[in-house]
């Protein structure tokens, strides 16, 4: 509290009475309305506390009932409302029709990107780059189950080798060694033959021996020349893209113990419009095939 108010000799003004080691403070009074403005902000704060959730107590919403969560839910609903006509159109259209319509395509590509990040990127990677261990790249031009719009949509809707969807892509490759279908030497030979299909066999004699084994055991699905069969989900063995790795050990493992990648069905999880958007988006990643 001010103790001793004096008149300053130089300026002729009063001091506040505060003193620190001989240093005194001139009284420069603030206008009173400024003080009232400060009181007004306090009143504003009190009104705010009553109207809006301001206390850190569960359920202590203000009189207005406004909550941040409620606001975001409302905004989401509003956005959904705005997007509804577009989503209706996307639901009704085939992927081909979406691709042909610039408006629908633009919306589907943007929406597909979001849906992909939310649902697919966990296995297939951001941008569909794929991941080692059987998660195929969706950006390349190599497709296990087909890269046309309708084929991509079918894979997304029903998935692969899952137990939840009757229409899932379901064919399996036998476990040639584990189930005693081939002897170890035969597995080695046929692996060399498979490597020779992309010109990488180390042992030409083994590869030649493996050709016969291949024709007998593998060609029914992978084709005479090993170029694959999308109906069966049998990959092309003659190209440079390897789902589980292209070195000999990985090929031997595939033959001996089989591989059976799994993908869930999405038609029960996602809106048909979202599936259509994803189809168009995946098709546009770079590997989409024309009809």
């Amino acid at each position: 509290m001010p103790t001793k108010i004096e008149k300053d000799a130089v300026s002729g003004r009063d001091t506040t009475g505060h003193e620190w080691d001989g240093i005194k403070e001139l009284n420069t009074p603030l206008p009173r309305w400024w003080l009232y403005t400060f009181y007004a902000t306090i009143v504003f704060a009190l009104v705010w506390v009553v109207l809006y959730p301001a206390l850190p107590i569960r359920g202590a919403t203000g009189l207005t009932g406004w909550t941040a969560r409620g606001a975001i839910v409302g905004e989401m609903a509003e956005r959904a409302n705005q997007q509804a006509p577009m989503l209706d159109a996307l639901r009704a259209a085939t992927p081909q029709q979406i691709l042909a319509d610039a408006n629908l395509r633009g919306f589907a590509l943007a929406g597909g990107r979001m849906a992909f990040a939310n649902n697919c990127a966990g296995c297939h990677g951001a941008g569909g780059q794929g991941a080692p261990g059987g998660f195929p790249s969706l950006a390349d031009d190599d497709w296990v189950w087909g890269g046309k719009l309708e084929e991509i949509r079918h894979t997304i809707r029903h998935g692969i080798r899952n137990t939840e969807d009757e229409a899932a892509r379901a064919t399996m490759m036998p476990r040639f060694l584990a189930d005693g279908l081939l002897k170890p030497a035969q597995v080695n030979d046929v692996a060399e033959h498979v490597l020779s299909l992309s010109g990488r066999a180390a042992d030409q004699a083994a590869a030649a021996r493996g050709a016969a084994v291949f024709a007998e055991n593998c060609a029914s699905c992978h084709g005479e020349a090993g170029r694959g069969n999308r109906e069966m989900g049998a990959p092309d063995l003659g190209d440079q893209v390897w789902l589980y790795g292209g070195d000999k050990a990985a090929v031997v493992h595939s033959i001996a113990y089989s591989r059976a990648g799994v993908m869930p069905s999405w038609n029960t999880r996602l809106d048909p419009a979202v599936v259509n958007m994803l189809t168009v988006y995946v098709h546009a990643l770079g590997g989409g095939e024309a009809e």
């Binding site: 108010i5 009074p29 309305w33 569909g128």
Partner: protein, 493 residues
């Protein structure tokens, strides 16, 4: 500091930390400064209210308003110029020019901005003029305020506030017209069809105008505005400032008394002051440099037959020179002549002025250069980061790029895309046409950003470096490169 007239109450025994506001009742005044102030006021208000109504034809689908800040579409329109958000530095540059100009003007002529052109001063002046029309001049207003409330007083006060609110509404209305099409907005405003935001800002600017120009007035300059606090840094002894020539005026006293200076202590300068200060106390923070006290004093000097200019725009250097030459002399014409003879011509050419002018010129040139050289279209190439590259089934490698083409003009040019890359690289642009040579043809949408996805494939068998430099070029119909942008093509490590 006796800044209040009539002088405030006797000093309180216990000084308060808060000052009660002393109402200022500025008197009307005539003179050259007042005329200049009216002229500047008319010019500023005319500019403010009329500029949104200027039309400018930009073609169909574009706003037809000459000056428009289009927030929804993120554009600023200034006559033929269109500023995109990424070019906001042009607006920043204008503000920088304004700031340096303000420094230079302050160094030369003191607080002319505060006294003549500041919106706070202009609107306060306008509101005071209205007040004078309705309640009368200083003495009448003081009398009216002292009277008990009556029908007549109520009517006058109500009329004044109604007129103020009307002006304030026009001011708030004009402000939002800089952000929306003026004729459309005016119609919507009156028929209740404007958006809630529009009414909010309309109300906000109406209330701030009414509050600041009607009620707060000099309090804004004295207590709220930061400019009076640091403008002293721009002033020096050669700046023209509003001053009282104490060497000539003192000792003040009755005109007919003996041994008295030219100041007859009539307090005319105090009565006309819009901030309620006494200029004879010397330079002070509250003084906005409007010079109305000069008009008031000149008028009095003329009437009592003494030379004008007792209060004047004067430099502190000249004030000191006059003081040194004349202060020791006895009051009278000799002192007046000696003091005025000691004055030197005002030194406008000073290092700081040249510095301000140099910086002003440099910034102006820089902006002009940047403006003349600015691109009307830009190409941005964003390389896909996921995946970094794609291995294709034939052993080739592919990279994907997003091309963003900003077209700031309203034409729709079609440009062919070419790729500078090693032999064998192939370029495909999704959803594009092709020109006669088979190159992708990109048609730019007018006044917008158009986006394409380009796929570049390196053939199998090519020994790829981890990173190969490539360049995208856009060619016009004559085959000239109009835009180009470098990027890289990534391959396996």
């Amino acid at each position: 500091m006796s800044r209040i007239d009539p002088p405030g109450a006797a000093p309180q025994p216990q000084a308060s930390l808060y000052a009660t506001r002393q109402k200022v009742y500025p008197r009307a005044v005539r003179g050259r400064v007042r005329q200049a102030k009216w002229a500047i006021l008319a010019l500023c208000l005319a500019l403010y209210y009329l500029v949104p109504w200027l039309r400018w034809d930009r073609g169909p689908g574009m706003p037809g308003q000459a000056v428009l800040v289009d927030v929804a579409n993120a554009r600023i329109f200034l006559f033929g110029i269109e500023i995109w958000p990424q070019e906001i530095y042009f607006i920043t540059g204008l503000l920088v020019l304004g700031a340096i100009g303000l420094f230079a003007a302050t160094s030369l002529f003191g607080r002319v901005w505060c006294g003549f052109a500041c919106p706070q001063t202009v609107w306060t002046d306008l509101f005071m003029w209205v007040e004078r029309r309705i309640e009368g001049d200083r003495n009448a207003r003081m009398r009216l305020d002292a009277l008990p409330w009556s029908r007549g007083k109520l009517l006058r006060k109500a009329a004044k506030h109604a007129a103020w609110l009307l002006i304030a509404a026009a001011t708030g209305g004009a402000w939002i017209m800089y952000f929306q099409d003026a004729p459309t907005l005016l119609g919507e405003l009156f028929t209740g069809r404007a958006s809630l935001e529009t009414y909010f800002f309309f109300g906000l600017f109406t209330l701030t105008t009414y509050g600041l120009a009607g009620w707060a007035r000099e309090q804004v300059c004295t207590y709220m505005c930061p400019w009076p606090r640091f403008q002293a840094a721009m002033l020096d002894e050669n700046s023209l400032v509003v001053t009282y020539r104490a060497w000539r005026g003192e000792p003040r006293g009755k005109a007919k008394a003996e041994g008295i200076g030219d100041c007859i202590d009539c307090r005319a300068c105090v009565h006309v002051c819009p901030t309620g200060i006494d200029i004879r106390d010397g330079q002070q923070l509250e003084c906005i440099g409007c010079g109305l006290c000069i008009d008031a004093c000149d008028d009095v000097m003329g009437r009592i037959g003494r030379p004008k200019g007792l209060v004047a725009f004067e430099t502190l250097a000249n004030l000191a020179a006059s003081e040194a030459a004349a202060a020791h002399l006895a009051p009278g014409p000799v002192r007046q002549v000696c003091g005025m003879k000691a004055r030197q011509p005002v030194r406008f050419s000073r290092p700081r002025i040249w510095l301000y002018a140099g910086v002003l010129g440099a910034v102006a040139l820089l902006m002009l250069g940047a403006f003349l050289l600015r691109d009307t279209a830009t190409l941005t190439v964003l390389r896909d980061r996921a995946p970094l590259y794609v291995r294709l089934s034939d052993g080739g490698t592919r990279n994907a790029y997003t091309l963003k083409l900003e077209n700031r003009l309203r034409g729709e040019p079609a440009l062919a895309l070419a790729l500078d890359a090693p032999q064998g690289f192939r370029l495909v642009v999704q959803d594009s046409d092709a020109d006669a040579d088979g190159r992708p043809l990109l048609t730019l949408r007018p006044d917008a950003v158009t986006q394409w996805r380009a796929l570049v494939t390196a053939p199998p068998g090519l020994r790829l470096q981890e990173s190969t430099p490539v360049r995208f070029r856009l060619l016009d119909a004559a085959g000239r490169t109009v835009l180009s942008e470098r990027s890289v093509f990534l391959g396996p490590k």
